[in-house]
Symmetry: C2
Subunit: 301 residues, 2 copies
DNA sequence: TAAAAATACTCCATAGGTATTTTAT
DNA sequence: ATAAAATACCTATGGAGTATTTTTA
């Protein structure tokens, strides 16, 4: 049995006239009669009551017709789902992100993508940069939102956002009321920073700024979460240098101050990048990359 | 697109190997590759990621596969429904019946048919014999349960049940305590009978019995419902002659007495017949007739 | 270099066409 | 008498086979 038989049957069942049905199907009447006969013989039951003058559906034909129409509906559905999936309009994407992406980058990015592709399911995983690289390799996520640099073949990355660094001080700090901070004034302060192992992309620029100011910071604590750093600063445990977007997370007891302009602070920025498998050419990924690299970058920059 | 394409696709998607899939399909590998290519080109999107060494489904192919499997399920369902309907195991039958068939004939008949063919929907219509003939002609019912005779080409009938007639008397009647009644003793009584027009098959034998006993009954009321006749008898409005199965409908104030055996009472019985369109050869009808003429008659007789 | 898909071609089965017959109205 | 389905027979498209090439793991 082929779809041809079912198409022919459906048309004859609608027209109840072999001649007209054949015309509608752009074939001659005899081969149509033949195909219907073949179908009936394969099915093992009659679809039509025919006299030489009139055609009507048997009860079995009536029941079969209803179900055959559903086959065609299901076929349309299959094609539609395939086409939408091939265009990336339908599908699934797993995204990893570092906690500090939640302040502005992630929400904006997801909003824009969702608006364009409402039928793509998005799965989110908060993970440190190094975990994301593992998950990418294992195929557990398709795209990561990380602090560069990363060096790994099979993965591609692309910077999508850069922002300046700010100093975080407890509100009682002697410098809490100045407009901008000269970094060298912090030489004697205890620093609360990310642990280098988990976020070198954020740790290294901070160290670089300090060294450009002539000192090596005294790091008293290595943290994973930006929120933890802010808490410790508010508790007078020390000062920190953080990406400017931390201001979005309103927090009592802490003030953020820009770094007084100098060569190092201009050069060393907090950078966010996306990373994905070089051989991943799934339509959903392509649409997502498109959305990020066009919509997102134009919004944020 | 033909089912062939979908069958081939499904097999390759399962095997993820053109050679093995071709073997499973009992065709050579090159035509299989060709058919899949044709399918992809018709669909307008790729189903497989192929290198010369390995095959995997694209996301679109994955989605398409799931829906294609449903097509085959739906096809199986269509065939199954058609086959069952063609055998009369699935379907619908509309049955008309006279009120007096409800005492024993109809329930037994339906029970037997239902046991054999639980998936046939039965629609019931209580109608007088003459209305049933109209509805049969109009196709509103497929089978009637009537009081013969009927004479109408295009309709066939078959007697399925005969029973003796009994006299119905009010309990206070002077003959209420005899064992059996000589009909001629009722010559002076008012008779409550069916209206001849609606049920000649029941009216005529009764008149015949009376005339054989030497009188023409004085009919005071023409009723449609047997229940109404019984009510009127119990209210002392007169006597009646009814099919013996009326005894099933227990009723206070009325007694039923057999007619003292004579030629006429042996000869004139209440007869029930089924009637259907001569050109109706729907499978459900055939199964129903089979059930009635085999099971039912052997039960009742 | 070996396994597997694609390409090139050949063949024939069968879908579809034309001419005619049959039959019910 | 006529409309419409079935039958008979013919044609040719394209599905399937065989031989070979290409590619990559």
């Amino acid at each position: 049995m082929e779809l041809r038989h079912l198409r022919y049957f459906s048309t004859v069942a609608t027209e109840l006239h072999f001649g007209r049905a054949a015309e509608k199907l752009h074939i001659a009447q005899p081969p149509l009669s033949k195909q219907i006969q073949d179908l009936e013989s394969e099915l093992g039951f009659e679809l039509f009551n025919r006299t030489k003058r009139s055609v009507s559906l048997t009860p079995a034909g009536k029941g079969f017709l209803i179900e055959v129409e559903r086959i065609f509906q299901q076929l349309d559905r299959a094609i539609d789902i395939g086409r939408k999936t091939s265009r990336g309009e339908l599908g699934q994407i797993s995204i990893g992100f570092v906690g500090s992406a939640t302040y502005n980058i992630l929400p904006v990015m997801l909003q824009q993508f969702r608006d364009r592709y409402p039928n793509v399911r998005i799965e989110l995983h908060e993970l440190t940069t190094d975990r994301q690289l593992v998950w990418l390799r294992e195929g557990r996520i398709d795209l990561g939102l990380i602090r560069p640099p990363i060096v790994e073949k099979n993965l591609v990355s692309q910077v999508i956002f850069q922002e300046s660094l700010v100093v975080a001080l407890p509100i009682s700090h002697r410098l809490a009321s100045v407009d901008a901070i000269d970094i060298d004034l912090l030489a004697a302060e205890p620093f609360i920073l990310f642990s280098r192992q988990l976020a070198p992309g954020l740790y290294d620029p901070i160290i670089a700024i300090c060294q450009a100011a002539g000192f090596s910071p005294q790091v008293v604590q290595g943290c994973i979460q930006m929120q933890t750093i802010v808490s410790l600063v508010s508790a007078n445990m020390g000062v920190s240098i953080l990406p400017a977007s931390i201001r979005e997370a309103q927090r009592q007891g802490v003030v953020y101050k820009p770094i007084r302009s100098n060569e190092a602070s201009k050069e060393h920025l907090a950078t966010m990048a996306i990373v994905w498998r070089i051989n991943d050419n799934s339509p959903t990924m392509n649409r997502f990359l498109e959305s990020v690299l066009v919509d997102f970058r134009s919004t944020i920059k």
